[in-house]
Subunit: 418 residues, 2 copies
Amino acid sequence: MKKTEVIAENAYVEQLARYEKYKAMGLKLDMSRGKPSKAQLDLSNGLFDILTSKSDFTGSQDYRNYGILDGIPEAKKLFAELSGVKESEIMVLGNASLSIMYDTLQRAMQFGVCGNKPFNEQGKIKWLCPVPGYDRHFAITELFGIEMINVPMTESGPDMDMIEKLVSADEQIKGIWCVPKYSNPQGIVYSDETVRRFAALKPKAADFRIYWDNAYMVHYVTEDVKLLNLLNTAKEYGNEDMVYMFGSTSKITFAGGGVGFMAASENNLASLRKLMGIQTIGYDKLNQLAHVRFFKNAQGILDHMDKHAALMRPKFEKVLEILSAEMDGFASWNEPKGGFFVSVDLPEGTAKRTVFLAKEAGVVFTGAGATYPYKKDPSDSNVRIAPSMPPVEELAIAMEVFCCAAKLAYFEKATGRI
Amino acid sequence: MKKTEVIAENAYVEQLARYEKYKAMGLKLDMSRGKPSKAQLDLSNGLFDILTSKSDFTGSQDYRNYGILDGIPEAKKLFAELSGVKESEIMVLGNASLSIMYDTLQRAMQFGVCGNKPFNEQGKIKWLCPVPGYDRHFAITELFGIEMINVPMTESGPDMDMIEKLVSADEQIKGIWCVPKYSNPQGIVYSDETVRRFAALKPKAADFRIYWDNAYMVHYVTEDVKLLNLLNTAKEYGNEDMVYMFGSTSKITFAGGGVGFMAASENNLASLRKLMGIQTIGYDKLNQLAHVRFFKNAQGILDHMDKHAALMRPKFEKVLEILSAEMDGFASWNEPKGGFFVSVDLPEGTAKRTVFLAKEAGVVFTGAGATYPYKKDPSDSNVRIAPSMPPVEELAIAMEVFCCAAKLAYFEKATGRI
């Protein structure tokens, strides 16, 4: 046995003993999804006291009745202010932005974008996917049979050289998924230069759209990093029709009980409204009204997010503290200033096994590979950690199990066991 | 001038004088859509007091958080009881049944029904449309480019001889729109025999589905006429996969602020759920919870509908009273026992002109033709009257204007003026 082999063998034995101890604890912890904690949900309970049987439900009409396709004016005002766009550039819709994105893409598939041919009739369609990214985005494009092309993320956003080259050359590329602020899972905020280069793109396809999922627009944890406004910047380049921006209050108020919205050029919205008016008579105006009266204005939302940040901060700190203590030189990770996730890159070829081992010890992480299209992480190294849900003490033990599982997976490999 | 010509001329002059009088009144009345009145909406205001910041939001999980794709168990129980199906045969979804129907058909277009080829890849698709019917149904099939075939309504439902013949012969016919109870606009309830013949259909297309929009399932006005349960009856013929049933509380609680649901075989639901899970993480569980706690059970909904009926009854009576007094022998109409509409058949070729003249006098009715696919009423005779919204005294004057406009239109024609 060589000396390095002895070291690896000893390390394996050590981690295995530790792992067995965790396993014996009978843990049952879930770090798999970006779910708000009970304390975070409690922050919005006041929403339930806003509308009572004695309330006035009238604004531009009686909001208990039919009417208004794309959002009550009060809600448009609030979310336009929050999004930094004009009221004529926003629609306030149903309970989540994911279904707004899905419906928008489904409309493009079936009916085409602004008078262009339906994607369904344009042969093999392609889509750019910054990686690692959000699994539910990738699931949508996969379902529609759209070919997904991985674009590596950098510290300032996706690789713009690659994006510029691809979209200007290939008419089959019709869109890109972006989470521009506190990206899922890395927590990266696109730099001003990145946003500018997006705004200035010259895509070959007239029906190319940037799906700008600003899911964490106000979800700072340690610092509210400024993101340049894509729609407004795109106007400088005459490119405002290239942009769809999405957001929701799912992680501001209630997950599933919130309000989703979409911002885009008046031209884009007019085209979408025509189709939307056949799908629905309108969305839940009463929930929109309750949200407006609860927050009053954009500042009201920001004040509310301070409270979220105070609850999230110790959790992010704990995750980073344990990663620093245990994984320095072994793995790499981001130190996000907001959002819901910490993204860890483990040694190549060990992510799947790590998640499996952690699960066997009672701690569930997002499936390895989930952050890549087709669930295929080419280097099998990325794991998304969602620290929002468990209390800090549980989080600590979950992270220890994660680190132990990662090392065990690595040394299993290094000693030829797997 | 012949004697009949003199009579027509005198009648024309008489109606014109009357019409000018109405016109001078500067009326502004809207009878165009089936909107609940303020008093009806007030019936459900208690819904706003059900959930407060002090409530327990927990059932099978914390309903403020992510989780549950197709309805909280409590809501499934309630609407399964109301629909007379098993809890495993129901999904409780978003704020309206129209979008559930649209989404279901869009999924069939894009992905196919239960493993069959997408409609998009099956050439020209056809759809059966009982007429007169619901304009928003027809708008959906029209948008998808589906060829709509008119099927005449009878007193017991659509012409089943025609339907049986068509669906058994033509594989391109993939569905039919039905409003089986208090149909829109005629208020007809399908007879047991009609439902049985639907349940026993032997369509040539394996992916043929009956879109059974039970929008007025509990919306009796003078009598709760029993409707045979299609899903359960279809089971007797091994045909349960042929049926999609839809409903919502849009006209029970709030229009746009209600809860929509869909009942179908477990096989159908499993197939839909797979696609739905990509479109959404879940619907508004808190609104579902509020509805459940407000009504408690199906009997709670029925008790609530008694109050709606008490408000609707005098309005239906007033419409029928004025029609009887003014239009006997001139036009024909149904005497619905429930639902939202009275359907009037005017002399051929006068409906459009009648609606136009009424509008000129300040009273808006649903556009003539709206009750037919492509907005084309082949005999230009049907007008849908929606009496729910205005108070009885306004309704009376609106109906008088309608009758006057109808006669004026007729005598304009009879005297060769138009």
